[in-house]
């Protein structure tokens, strides 16, 4: 038993010395400086009035407006880091059906002149699509006004009761793709 143990010990020492000799190789690792990755900020802000301001009451000959602002800056002052397209779509078909002579127009102002950029068609649909209206990292606010003018040239028979008509406006900002 002792002899066997001695032989085993000797073999073990031999193995260790051989292995140690084999593992003594050159080796080095270099970790290059890590690269930070971040997503470019995307911001679309729409500032609109409360529901009461959107409850427009219009009579023949009246011009009523609903104003809202679109911006590429959030409430913390952080600006979108991509160029942005803007799509504004609205469905005024119920208004058109009830009041065929109402003129519905979308006006736009960027601090200077106010220009008409879209008008509802005969079915009441209004659409305004513009590309790269916002530039990356450049803060901008665009003012919009939805104007409803009830042209009273024609005689309209109404019973005097007010009618509530649904108005839906969609404002969509999309990263401009080149």
């Amino acid at each position: 038993m002792k002899k066997a143990l001695r032989i085993l010990l000797l073999l073990l020492m031999l193995f260790v010395s051989l292995t140690a000799g084999t593992m003594a190789v050159y080796t080095r690792t270099v970790d290059l400086a890590p690269v930070a990755i971040s997503a470019k900020r995307f911001v679309l802000g729409v500032n609109q009035g409360n529901q009461g301001e959107f409850d427009l009451r219009i009579g023949p000959g009246d011009l009523v407006s609903y104003q809202f602002e679109v911006t590429n800056q959030n409430s913390e002052g952080e600006v979108s880091e991509v160029d942005m397209d803007l799509h504004i779509d609205a469905d005024f078909s119920a208004v058109r059906a009830a009041l065929p002579t109402v003129e519905i127009k979308l006006l736009m102002s960027t601090g200077g002149d106010t220009i008409e950029v879209a008008a509802a068609d005969s079915s009441g649909l209004l659409s305004y699509h513009t590309s790269s209206v916002f530039s990356a990292s450049v803060s901008k606010v665009i003012f919009f006004s939805l104007n409803f003018y009830w042209n009273s040239d024609e005689t309209i028979s109404v019973n005097g009761d007010s009618v509530v008509l649904p108005l839906t406006v969609y404002v969509k900002g999309m990263q401009h793709v080149y």
């Binding site: 050159y26 080095r28 270099v30 290059l32 930070a36 971040s38 470019k40 952080e78 880091e81």
Partner: protein, 184 residues
Amino acid sequence: MKKKLLLIVLALAILTSLTAGTLAVYTKTVSKTEQVEAKRFTFNVAGDIVGSYGSFNMAPGEEKKYAFTIDNGVSTGTVAEVPLRYDITVTYTEARANMPGLVAKLYNTTDGSTEIGEYNAETGQIKFTASSTANNEFNESYVVIVTWVNDTDTSENNPQTLVGTNKYTNVNGITVSVSANQVM
């Protein structure tokens, strides 16, 4: 007694003269000194973002590049005297998980551009092994190209839009590690 003593002394004298005579042999010593040196192990890695960027700030549809080089002493004029194996590991696990559509690929750009390495979805790593022979110059160029593939999903608050709205940031988004090991 005296006779015996005389005989012993005589024998001793003879023995001494014989031994002294025997030890008087030709002898010469030559000594030589040799140097033992460790074989040179040289390995250099250098890398940087391509372009004047400090980081990868990306939107869907954009790509960024990180270029690096590996040599066995060519850049310092002292080529390694042992064969070496280079294990390259590119890691972007967390960034890939948090930016849906983020893809990284590794290319060897020494002569043209060839995609290399294997991507492991479980570890979020690309691995590739290169090698050099002793005393022969090895100087290779590589680039990691990271693309945030646009998923073209324009639905409200789609995953990529949410990432941009929250401005996801990872300071260790991409790491490149190179190990050089002597080949036995």
